[in-house]
């Protein structure tokens, strides 16, 4: 077969996918121009007047802007830290267990929450943490007083961080477990012959072997630091917890699609996209440079 025909066939194969990519991914990018327009209903993309950086100026003048940015980074950073450390500890504990069946049973259960949506898990959490729910009953039996957990702004970030770590730790542990199986058993054997106990083996062999993985996960996580988890926050927050729970994505949703401030919401979204793009590119570059990590 001639090369020209081959190329034509390949392009035909790519056509449907790339037509989709153009329509649903590239075209929306062009809409970033909204950020520099004062949207007039009925005038559309091209009819609305240009206002330069007015939307951005207004955005920065809002009191919300600071707290939203802070909330996003705060929730995100703790989620990354918990999402790297908790699975690490869990994988190490699991690695110490020799009984195959028990190990399998534990793994089967802890992966499950990852595959459930935040709509489902949010609904379950509202029940579990409700005023008459089991958590409040435990609090009461220990001598505490009942709390409406999701009505308290001071508790919201903690609940969001812990529940996210809970949902994902099993799944994230898979990467560590894969790295742990890669350690040569002969290392442990010779260490044991030299008289190294369990702790020493852990500190001198196991941890150094998976430290790279932990660093890699941290670096890749930091690339996503502006994504504090829309689905989760959206399903858990309410007006009482906006002050500590509102993140960039939820704010953009409310101001853009509910309050119809298209220009303002697009400006905030664009800022996030540009910063996010820079962060994620840097994180991939670092991961590639120092851990030889490549996605393709």
């Amino acid at each position: 077969m001639k090369k020209k025909n081959l190329t034509t066939s390949y392009l035909m194969m790519l056509l449907p996918g790339y037509v989709w990519l153009f329509l649903f991914s590239i075209v929306p990018m062009i809409g970033f121009t909204f950020a520099f327009q004062a949207f007039v209903p009925g005038h559309g993309f091209f009819g609305s007047p240009w206002v330069g950086f007015d939307n951005f100026r207004y955005l920065f003048s809002l009191n919300d802007a600071r707290s939203i940015f802070f909330n996003t980074v705060y929730i995100s950073v703790f989620k990354i830290a918990g999402g790297v450390l908790v699975p690490l500890v869990f994988a190490l504990l699991l690695n110490e267990i020799r009984v195959g069946l028990f190990k399998k049973w534990v793994q089967t259960i802890v992966y499950l929450p990852h595959f459930l949506s935040w709509v489902i898990l949010g609904g379950i959490m509202l029940d579990v943490f409700s005023i008459s729910g089991p958590v409040n009953r435990i609090v009461e039996s220990l001598g505490g007083t009942k709390t409406a957990f999701f009505a308290r702004a001071d508790l919201f970030p903690t609940i969001a961080i812990l529940s996210d770590v809970w949902k994902e730790f099993g799944f994230n542990a898979v990467i560590y477990l894969a790295a742990l199986t890669g350690i040569s058993p002969s290392l442990y054997e010779s260490a044991a012959i030299d008289g190294a106990g369990r702790w020493q083996q852990l500190w001198r062999i196991t941890l150094p072997s998976i430290a790279t993985t932990a660093v890699l996960l941290t670096v890749l996580g930091l690339g996503n630091v502006l994504n504090a988890g829309f689905d989760q926050i959206f399903n858990l927050y309410n007006p009482l917890t906006y002050s500590t729970g509102d993140i960039i994505d939820t704010w953009v949703y409310r101001s853009g699609l509910l309050n119809l401030q298209f220009g303002l919401a697009t400006a905030a979204g664009l800022l996030k996209s540009v910063m996010g793009f820079a962060l994620i590119t840097i994180s991939y570059w670092l991961a590639r440079r120092f851990a030889n990590y490549r996605i393709f």
Partner: protein, 294 residues
């Protein structure tokens, strides 16, 4: 690790097993509690009597759902979305991945096209422009918006590209020698040996479509067009006005029909639980996507 059977070693083992027990149960109990709640009497649930077993066992909530046309409509919408959305997405993904897996000699355009795809993974126009685009296509309140909304994921394409690149070269070379064209090679040679990766993306895409609620919420303004997750989201979540007070919140919380909501949540979980054994078998492939390559 080399085992020594000292007492200290065994005590440590017992402690670790105990911790893992607690951790595993923490992932299971909330789901179990939801099932118990859905099977309990409404009054017992409201009074906070339900624990790890249903109190006042009954299936009234499930009976109510059986008579709830809106629930069935939403369930059906989700089924349609999963079946059509997943099929279209998998076909587009595999068709795009095969040429993109070719080296620069065979297909020089592959690399730039791959970079375009990666760029769309890393950058997006944001929520408002995306919404306006879909609206300008006239897809608001149209099921096809949800079916087509996420057809070509860069993540899935890269997964398949990596898999095809690791296939033995001889496989395709033999087919080419026999005079097979690229379409024939793709359908008859590459697809059959790529079943594991295709199963992975099929399952992940199906679960994605089943779980996705936001597009349903934003793009469907009629509630009869909601997929199940959006329907549940609207039912269960406390939606208060901007000047909601803590007391109002508590009242809303007490007023909600806990047993019925729990039953709806549990039914929405069932499809995921059904495919879970298969998911578990295949999702490890998905995780090793960005593996460290030598």
């Amino acid at each position: 690790m080399v085992a020594d059977k000292t007492l200290k070693f065994r005590v440590t083992d017992a402690v670790i097993v105990a911790i893992l027990f607690v951790v595993a149960f923490s992932c299971f109990l909330p789901l179990w509690y939801t099932l118990c709640l859905s099977l309990s009497a409404k009054a017992s649930a409201a009074a906070g009597l339900v624990g790890l077993w249903p109190v006042g066992f009954n299936v009234v909530s499930y009976g109510q759902i059986m008579g709830d046309l809106k629930f069935f409509q939403a369930f059906w919408n989700s089924v349609v979305r999963v079946v059509l959305g997943t099929s279209i997405s998998v076909v587009l993904t595999v068709m795009a991945a095969y040429p993109l897996s070719k080296g620069p000699r065979e297909f020089p355009l592959g690399r730039p096209l791959m970079w375009i795809l990666v760029f769309t993974m890393l950058f997006n126009g944001g929520l408002v422009p995306w919404y306006m685009t879909i609206r300008s296509y006239g897809l608001i309140n149209n099921m096809w918006a949800l079916v087509l909304g996420s057809s070509l994921g860069g993540f899935n394409v890269i997964l398949v590209v990596n898999f095809i690149r690791n296939l033995p070269k001889e496989l395709e070379e033999a087919a080419v020698v026999d005079g097979a064209g690229p379409w024939y090679t793709l359908v008859r040679i590459v697809v059959p040996v790529s079943v594991p990766v295709i199963a992975t993306i099929t399952l992940l895409t199906a679960v994605y479509h089943w779980n996705e609620f936001f597009q349903g919420l934003v793009l469907m303004s009629k509630s009869s067009n909601y997929p199940l997750q959006t329907y549940i989201q609207q039912m269960v979540m406390v939606i208060g006005s901007a000047n909601l007070t803590e007391d109002q919140y508590k009242k809303l919380n007490e007023m909600s029909n806990q047993t019925l909501n729990a039953a709806k949540i549990f039914i929405a979980m069932i499809p995921v639980l059904l495919v879970y054994p298969f998911l578990q078998r295949y999702f490890i492939n998905g995780i090793t996507l960005g593996s460290v390559k030598e």
